[in-house]
């Protein structure tokens, strides 16, 4: 029987977490794992993110926008090219709404601003998984 994730009715998701900040990466990992999801991979940069997406086939990717080198926007484009139906939640500390809109146009399902409240990010994950 599949594990219930958050009480909102979604099954456990296999998640790839991408963020150059170890603090942010590990915080989000802890939140989603405690809710019953499985973190299949963690990436600290864009190159690693694309490689892990190819090899791990996650059901969901949480992707930080602002990273050195290949940023979230470039990673998102590559992921969508590889799998147009990929479920990607773009996460950013930016206040610039044009960045969020562009991410959504490129293929992100949701744009979430940092820092994310635990209940909110879990609800967003459930909504993206159910869509």
């Amino acid at each position: 029987m599949p594990m219930q994730a958050t009480g909102f009715g979604t099954d456990m998701a296999k998640i790839l977490i991408v963020d150059d900040s170890a603090f942010a990466r590990n915080s989000l990992s802890m939140i989603v794992e405690r809710a019953g999801h499985e973190v299949v991979g963690r990436a600290g940069d864009g190159e690693q993110a694309v490689e892990l997406f190819k090899s791990l086939h996650p059901e969901l990717v949480t992707l930080d926008f602002l990273m050195p080198g290949k940023n979230g926007e470039a990673v998102l484009e590559e992921i969508i090219q590889l799998d147009p139906s990929a479920k990607v939640i773009m996460i950013s500390g930016f206040g610039d709404y044009t960045i969020g809109e562009k991410a959504l146009q490129t293929g992100a399902k949701v744009f979430v601003e940092k820092p994310h409240v635990q209940e909110d990010i879990l609800k967003v994950i459930d909504q993206v998984m159910e869509a």
Binding site: S21, A22, S27, D96, Y97, F111, P115
Partner: protein, 252 residues
């Protein structure tokens, strides 16, 4: 509260006051969410002045600073700094240690051998900046950079809200600055003598002890003039509509 102004109009002063209130409220909420620690009270001021004339920067003292730096890009160009004094950074480290241990212990790629319970050297009185507990040092600098990332984003958004422009910050970098080079650079440059900066001082009480952080937003001269001009020429009824929130579920 606006501590000092440089030939600003009433409308501009009100806008900067709103920027301070909005940005700081969200910044402190963000710190509570990030760290899982309660902030009991806070007091904030903003000074609009060239670095050399700043009274606020004198509050930094002469000791080691922990600095996060970033650039302002987009419609506005410039730079941003987040500053913490060493004693406050050490206190934050003490508060964060159990949280970081939990976070990094839970990570499968963590090197558990480096996460011992020993207090690092930089938390002792002799602050050399180097620590035997390299893992914890790196975690704290990473945490500081992420703190800068979130606060820069919130203050940039608050600033853009008062002037109806779109800007964001670049990847933040955290560093230890024993000689306060970041400040000396501001004071010695020609821009330091004439370029207006937004110098925000936040004091908040976290688990019984006050902590201060400073956020310096330094738009280039042309960008600052753009901010002032836009505030002055804006119709108040436009305020809430110019910056619509991102539609988070439009693709679903």
């Amino acid at each position: 509260m606006i501590a000092k102004q440089q030939s600003l109009t009433e409308k501009q002063l009100k806008s900067f006051d709103r920027f301070l209130v909005d940005g700081t409220r969200k910044a402190l909420n963000a710190l509570e969410v990030m760290f899982g620690l309660n902030i009991d009270s806070s007091d904030s001021t903003i000074e609009i002045a060239p670095a050399v004339n700043s009274e606020t920067l004198k509050h930094l003292g002469n000791g080691t600073l922990y600095v996060v730096s970033s650039s302002l890009v987009g419609d506005l160009q410039g730079s941003m700094l987040l500053l913490m004094r060493s004693d406050d950074f050490k206190y934050l480290g003490e508060m964060m240690r159990p949280i970081l241990s939990l976070l990094f212990l839970s990570a499968p790629d963590a090197d558990l051998s480096e996460l011992d319970s020993r207090k690092p050297d930089w938390m002792q009185d002799n602050d050399t900046g180097s620590s035997g507990d390299t893992a914890f040092d790196e975690q704290m600098m990473d945490t500081l950079a992420e703190m800068g990332n979130v606060l820069f984003g919130l203050y940039t958004k608050a600033m853009c809200n008062i002037c109806a422009l779109n800007s964001h910050h670049s990847v933040p970098e955290a560093s230890r600055d024993p000689e306060q080079r970041a400040i000396q650079k501001l004071l010695s440059s020609s821009e330091g003598k004439r370029q207006l900066r937004m110098i925000i001082e936040n004091e908040f009480v976290m688990t019984g002890r006050p902590i201060k952080i400073w956020c310096l937003i330094s738009p280039e001269q042309k960008s600052f003039q753009e901010i002032l001009g836009r505030i002055e020429n804006r119709n108040d009824h436009q305020d809430q509509r110019l910056f619509r929130p991102v539609q988070k579920f439009v693709s679903m």
